[in-house]
């Protein structure tokens, strides 16, 4: 059997990027919010709202950019619940996070059912930008492949590279990054330095919500081209794990997301190679991979000391 053909590798790369992008957006957002000390378990719910809003906007507006914008806005709006309840009022982040996820699952399923149950519309393909020259390289070029490859992707994928580099710089080299880290490591010190812990954390959670929403929108607008109930299928939780393993370094989130994207999409690539594996096994793979990674590198999964704890000024 000819497993290692060019087509197979092209499909693998394309699938890895396609399925990895939503994970990347969400895990970058979660990384920032975890740094600031807020464990955002509602990520799955924010992705779902983002996916629905993005789908609706792209469907009626006819532009994928409108979809991304609407998705990010919906995610940020959902995270406002968390900002008010968890950051401002100091309520339990996990209970509120579960509430957001449950409500999002229910509400998106209900509204989608009421609006689109009969028609079940799909979106067209998103335009890809082929980088001149590079896109003609076999395997990684993907200029002539149906799903593209490394050098033939929607514009937003290239913009994300800029975002990743920028975020890494902000987290490492700027005052903003320092404030974020302090809010998660020792909020009292940040407060003493005259910077508002609540404001820092609020912006971090809003950013996480917007990124999760954007990830959801990418999922529905680009990757799936449609919306269905529970479309995220636990991707929000994978993103949380990726953020934990990346320990505040965006590049690691990129690598992790891409690897997870591959295991989420490997069944398509295997089908091209003529191998049929059970979808149950395939869906199980990424989760098994994380558990194995945690068992092997568990000690390295760093979490800020103040993660999950509300900040109360003057409390000991």
């Amino acid at each position: 059997m000819d497993l290692l053909t060019n087509d197979f590798f092209t499909a693998l790369i394309a699938g890895g990027i396609l399925a990895g992008m939503p994970l990347l957006f969400a895990s970058l957002g979660e990384m920032v919010s975890e740094r600031a000390g807020v464990l955002n378990i509602g990520l799955e719910g924010m992705m779902l709202f983002g996916a629905y809003a993005g789908f609706v906007a792209a469907y009626y507006g006819g532009s994928s950019w409108l979809g991304f914008l609407a998705g990010a806005a919906a995610g940020a709006a959902t995270s406002l619940v968390m900002v008010v309840l968890c950051v401002r009022w100091g309520l339990d982040q996990i209970v509120v996070g579960i509430a957001i996820t449950l409500a999002a699952e229910g509400i998106t399923a209900l509204i989608f059912d009421a609006e689109f149950a009969q028609t079940r519309p799909t979106l067209g393909n998103v335009d890809r930008v082929s980088i001149p020259g590079l896109s003609r390289i076999p395997v990684v070029g993907g200029g002539d492949s149906s799903n593209g490859s490394l050098f033939s992707q929607p514009l937003i994928v290239y913009l994300t590279i800029v975002l990743v580099v920028g975020l890494g710089w902000v987290l490492r080299r700027t005052h903003i990054g320092l404030n974020l880290r302090a809010a998660g490591d020792k909020p009292g010190a940040l407060d003493a330095a005259g910077v508002s812990v609540v404001a820092t954390r609020s912006w971090a959670v809003l950013f996480a919500g917007a990124m999760a929403g954007l990830g959801g929108a990418y999922l529905s607008v680009v990757a799936a081209g449609l919306f269905e109930a529970f479309i995220t299928q636990g991707r929000g939780f994978i993103a949380i794990v990726l953020a934990m393993l990346a320990r505040g370094r965006p590049l690691w989130a990129v690598i992790g997301s891409f690897l997870f994207g591959i295991s989420l999409s490997i069944s398509d690539a295997l089908q091209i190679a003529g191998i049929d594996v059970s979808t149950d096994v395939v869906f199980m793979l990424p989760f098994v991979a994380v558990i194995v990674v945690l068992v092997l590198f568990g000690r390295r999964a760093y979490l800020p000391p103040a993660l999950g704890l509300p900040y109360v000024r003057g409390a000991r």
Binding site: L39, W89, D92, A103, E105, L110, A229, V290
Partner: protein, 379 residues
């Protein structure tokens, strides 16, 4: 300092219910408890009503249908039977949540135990006398589900890895593994759809005389009493509560924190496995591929509403049983998808957190009004 000591879920530190601070005495306390536990439910029903209105459904008709569908002639027996697995899951969660540990891998543990029980059930029931086969199946279910908690428990106990994430991941794996088992070694190939062989009705859990209700509800009730007793009246329960209240204090006291984390995790898994066994051996007799009642996250809020009390959770479990059984009927009547229950439970959680905050402020002698509002009023 070990990481376990610094990662206490704050909810575990929630203050005990109205600890006699309210000046109005016993009546005031009762009112306080009633407001704090029923308030969120009422608010969620109202907010859900607005959502129903937005979808063009009359909320009063809808909630009326929920009650009809759950309590009418015959239906009330389904509601009681639904209570059995829900109550078992709830008391299982109480054991870990009290210890400040989050077991959120409920669905995976439940489905895996269900698949194994359904797969082994028919052959065991043929080979052994009924009482022995059923006892054995209950033990197997408890063992399987409890084994599924070991990885998150060990990772938490030894590496301090956040167990919320790991138990959720194990849950996804468990759900897929259950499907693999049902479509593989346990599949009954005489059926058109992938499912396990059907256990004869006569070999399933016996019913309580004069009803259709299987004895699973008695098992669940006994488990609730047992958990209530262990958590409130034994040294082990006290140790778990100390761990939940303050992990650092627990390790300074010389408690075996690792052992407590692992054992409470496994006990909760075992109870969740028993829940699966009652559902399979009491109602279904088989499992179809991709069957997932997804009770897990639905039960979590009840445990908080009941303040980790295994007996107080019973009325809330009854309420959830009414919502799920009646909700199916009502959404069918209204032409909605049956995810509405998820929305209600999510809203209950949100309102519960808010009520909790207001109650805590009042205990501290503050006003129910938020600070920014009071500031505006005084200036």
């Amino acid at each position: 300092m070990s990481q376990t000591a610094t990662q206490v879920p704050p909810a575990a530190q929630a203050p005990p219910a109205a600890a006699g601070r309210t000046p109005a005495g016993a009546l005031g306390q009762l009112a306080d408890i009633a407001i704090r536990s029923l308030g969120p439910i009422v608010l969620a029903l109202i907010a859900g009503g607005f959502l129903l209105l937005a979808l063009g459904v009359n909320p009063l008709d809808f909630y009326g249908n929920v009650l009809n569908g759950a309590l009418e002639e015959g239906a009330w027996q389904d509601t009681i039977m639904r209570m059995a697995p829900l109550l078992l899951i709830a008391v299982g969660l109480i054991v870990v949540f009290r210890a400040g540990i989050w077991n959120l891998g409920i669905d995976g543990q439940f489905l895996l135990a269900a698949a194994v029980v359904a797969g082994l059930g028919p052959s065991l029931a043929d080979a052994l006398p009924q009482w022995l086969a059923l006892t054995l199946l209950f033990l197997i279910a408890a063992g399987v589900a409890s084994a599924w908690t070991i990885v998150p428990a060990l990772l938490r106990a030894y590496y301090g890895v956040n167990e919320i994430i790991t138990s959720l991941l194990m849950s996804f794996i468990g759900i897929d593994l259950a499907n693999i088992l049902i479509k593989g070694p346990f599949q009954d190939f005489s059926s058109n759809v992938p499912q396990t062989s059907i256990l004869d009705f006569g070999k399933m859990l016996p019913s309580i005389p004069t009803t259709r209700i299987h004895v699973g509800i008695l098992v669940a009730g006994a488990a609730a009493v047992a958990v209530w007793f262990v958590m409130g009246r034994t040294a082990y329960g006290l140790r778990l509560r100390v761990l939940g209240a303050n992990a650092r204090a627990a390790s300074h006291m010389g408690l075996n924190v690792r052992g407590l984390i692992i054992s409470s995790f496994m006990v909760s898994g075992a109870l969740i496995g028993v829940a699966a066994a009652t559902e399979i051996l009491g109602i279904w007799g088989y499992v179809r591929a991709d069957w997932n009642p997804a009770f897990g996250l639905l039960v979590v809020p009840l445990v908080f509403l009941a303040r980790f009390n295994a007996l107080a959770v019973i009325p809330f479990v009854f309420l959830l049983a009414v919502l799920t059984i009646g909700g199916d009927f009502a959404t069918q009547q209204a032409g909605l998808s049956n995810e509405f229950t998820l929305v209600l439970v999510g809203l209950i959680l949100l309102f519960m957190s808010i009520t909790e905050l207001l109650g805590r402020r009042r205990e501290l002698g503050q006003s129910y009004l938020p600070a920014w509002w009071r500031r505006r009023g005084s200036s």
